[in-house]
Amino acid sequence: MRNGSEVGRMSSPQPFRGPDGGRIDRGRTLAFTFDGRRYRGHPGDTLASALLANGVKVLGRSMKLHRPRGVLSAGIEEPNALLCVDWGSGLIPTVRATAMPLLDGLEARSQNCFPSVNFDLGRVLDFTRALWPAGFYYKMFKWPDWRAYEWAVRRAGGLGRLPGGADRTGYRHLNGHCDLLVVGSGPAGLGAALEAARRGEDVLLVEQDMEIGGSLLHDPMEIEGAGSDDWLAAALAELAGMDNVRLMADATVAGAYDHNLLTIHDRSAAWRGDGAVESFWKVRARRIVLATGAFEQPMLFGNNDLPGIMLAGAVHKYATRFAVHCGRRVAGVLNNDSGWRSLLAAHDNGTTVCAIVDTRSDLAPALLDAAEERGIAVHRGATPLTARGSFGVQALRFASATGPVRQVDCDLIGMSGGLNPATQLYSQAGGKLRYDESRHCFVPDRDPEGWEAVGAASGSFTQESGTPVRPCAAAPVRTGGQWLDFQNDVTVADIELAVRENYVSVEHLKRYTTAGMAVDQGKTSNLGALTVLGQLTGRTPGEVGTTTSRPQFTPVTIGAIAGNRRGDFYSPPKRLAAHDWHAAEGAVFDDYGSWKRPACYGPDREAAIAREVLAVRQSVGLFDGSPLGKIEVKGPDAAAFLDRIYVNNVLTLKPGRVRYGLMLNENGIVIDDGVFVRIADDHFLVNTTSGNAERICAWLEEWHQCEFFDMQVVQSNVTSQWAVATLAGPHARGVLQSLPGLIDLSTAGFPHMSFARGRLADGMPYRLQRVSFSGEQSYELSVPSNRAVPIIERLRAAAGPGELLPIGVEALMVLRTEKGFVHVGVDTDGTTNPLDIGFGAVVDRKRRDFIGARSLARPNDRRADRRQLVGFEPLDANASVPAGAHFVAVSNGTRRSEGFVTSACDSPTLGRTIGIGLIERGFGRKGEEVLVYDNGRNTPVRIVDPCFYDPAGERMRA
């Protein structure tokens, strides 16, 4: 990598660099490589200007046809010069060389070519391009099957390669506010910033270039009677001296959102090999001044994508800002005065222009005089036909005004098809554009609230150029290899094809031809494409309209948008208070919702689950139930409120007692289940499914605040305040009772579905409820979360060495499946009502209204052929069927699904496989044999009651 010093000693002339001038630091030399060859440039260069200074013209291959491509522009709109670069940062693909600062030791590589950029086998696609018109992929790869082609198409598609390894760049998110945000630091932007700053407004000026100054950096002019260099220096000094002004360079306003929120991609600290940081700002601005300038548009002629064909403004910018003269004999292809200005200025700064071909006949005398003074041949009223050359321009052919075809020899073509304001952000913010006939471009028309466009972004080009801009003739349409979109290889012929196939809406055109997609988002192609579309369909560009602009304005690193939200920060995992204790016991952790919980203890999953299940069935197991949702509901109306929420009767529950309940949504669908406890007359504890506490708490809040706001009740989610140790199994009571200070646990004093609270002998507060999800005698002991480990250790000690086995979530799931207890969200889905899972009697007993009640009275909710909860046993006791497999009915040779398996397991208790599921008319089908289909296998099963174990419930009440 860092071989800069070694390269620095090499003598490496920069044959296209002028002897003086430019805003580069000639005192220092930066060494870099392109495709393995070594070159030199200077601080102040972009990667593109340094390559051009070294005479490198072919930088890459086009996306689809693999045609050789060189630099088109000198800015962010670049569609061609997309390289893989590495400056110690790791490989970064598809970087625009025109917007990438030259760095010492930088390695750049061409993309989309094999074996090399100068000899690319993919070029065969170009030589046969008649076969690959727009939309070819929709037509050609259908027979016999898309999958026969997919691998090749995937390999050929896209640009660049994904970097490997971890991303070494740091990303951070920052927030800001300002009175005025100015986008762009040319004369218009600086002027707006100065004016507001002098009034005392809080001003943020954002410039995407590494240097503040915009067009003044390459196109000096007179401002307020002074040279712009002096004016710029004075303006920067004044702004730097004001506390209410912030200047950001090398930062792009990437998105404009509702209520004047703007996002800024700040790369100013990104160019370090180590410790690189990209910042992503969210800034809320009272006002926005858009001073983003305008994008010059290409001209249409044959082979206009050859390396050595650039925008006229880019020829100018390279000549003045970088002292790079991109060609030795430059020909101009123009239709407007702005292009003339660029080429004349480039000529005066050392880039020799030999001829200008202008599509207009009536040129201003001043232009003709200027050309004559400089010895530039002018061809007015001419039609550019084609550029000749294979890896670089050698000549330009054009039809002269009088008809004959003529040719000028040249090694560079500077073209200008007019300017189009950079209104992308304006449109994102909801601003409306208007087509301006005289300037052939789209200009801001209706400002979004707080927005204003100034300078070239508003369509006032004269302010910049100082010379009047002539109407730009739209290029005549001719068939052939005239490129509209260089990056995506979209030609005029593709638009013609799209029109023939009736893709005449500009949005359809974009998707069918891919014009305006990918890195540059059509900054140099949208206007051309919709103009051609208009000409082919007899509409003005204004009638055709533009495609919708969306964020991002220029490519933004995905990491910058993600910021810190990666790894564990993407979705922070919740750990149990006793996490480390479980880990020491050999727990295998899985993700259950956002919780990391022990799935089982020990590396052999099946054996561990069986061992844990049998421990609960035969002696006692310890389960960490802390994630169980716990919501306190309190107030004079607490019972009445919950009676509206639950399907079950809440009013009749006595203090100290526990009841199982279902919650429905208004559509009558089961959304949660669990027990609720009446702690006191006005005080309830609502248990929700683990991982569902936030959602249910928010659900209760919404109902209370929005509909039952007259009720006096408060609720609070206390899930993480209490750790829950569940003891389950025939020996549970014996172990628990040995904790000093606990109440009497005898079944007479503390039967199943009881609740108590108090303090242990050492003062530790506890809550205890006798409920069971396993079907065994079971106690859920809650203590403050920070006492989780001590209570577990004491229970263990009470049980005696090796007697209290920890059990994981998977064993509990087997235990509850054996009991046929539903797990909401697993055994139910978004169509399951309480009647479907056997709670019809509870529903019908409740006389008062509750959420979802009315929906359960609809005929559809009471249809006899609804899917209903059943258990099933495979006829072969060892046959396993996975959850999700379908119950299949076969009649008259046709097969249809009658439902599906929701839970299935290998039951250690019963010594066979079992399952539960939802099947049509299930309640009436006990004993029936049906087929379960999974992945090509049919397994015969017998439908049974969903409760496989202790159906009378004697064990859990014991």
């Binding site: 929120l261 809320r284 609230e449 208004e666 605040q705 929005c706 009315r854 929906s855 609809r858």
Partner: protein, 101 residues
């Protein structure tokens, strides 16, 4: 991203809120027929222009309130508490909203 005036906390970013959707009609009495019930459950007006919505400042005060928002301009014209009558939107606001298409 909207800037929403929470009636309890003041202006905050949309990211702090949860949108509960268009304000439902009043909950019908349990005895209504199936058509009226399904109309209440499933149908919303989805207007172009002013819409009354429920929002919760879920990463702030956790209070629900109602917002009058223009679906075209996203301008927020009023906020009010559940149970309060719908505010009368007079003059320029309402007019601007109607012409905002």
């Amino acid at each position: 991203m909207l800037r929403i005036p929470c009636p309890f906390c003041g202006d905050r970013d949309e990211a702090e809120f949860r949108c509960g959707g268009e304000l439902p009609r009043e909950i019908p009495q349990p005895g209504v027929d199936d058509d009226a019930w399904s109309d209440y459950l499933f149908n919303r007006d989805n207007p172009k222009g002013l819409v009354h919505e429920r929002w919760c400042h879920s990463f702030g005060c956790n209070q629900w309130f109602n917002v009058v928002r223009d679906t075209v301009t996203h301008r927020i014209h009023a906020v009010y508490r559940p149970g309060e009558p719908r505010p009368a939107l007079d003059g320029p606001c309402a007019t601007a909203a109607k012409s905002g298409g």
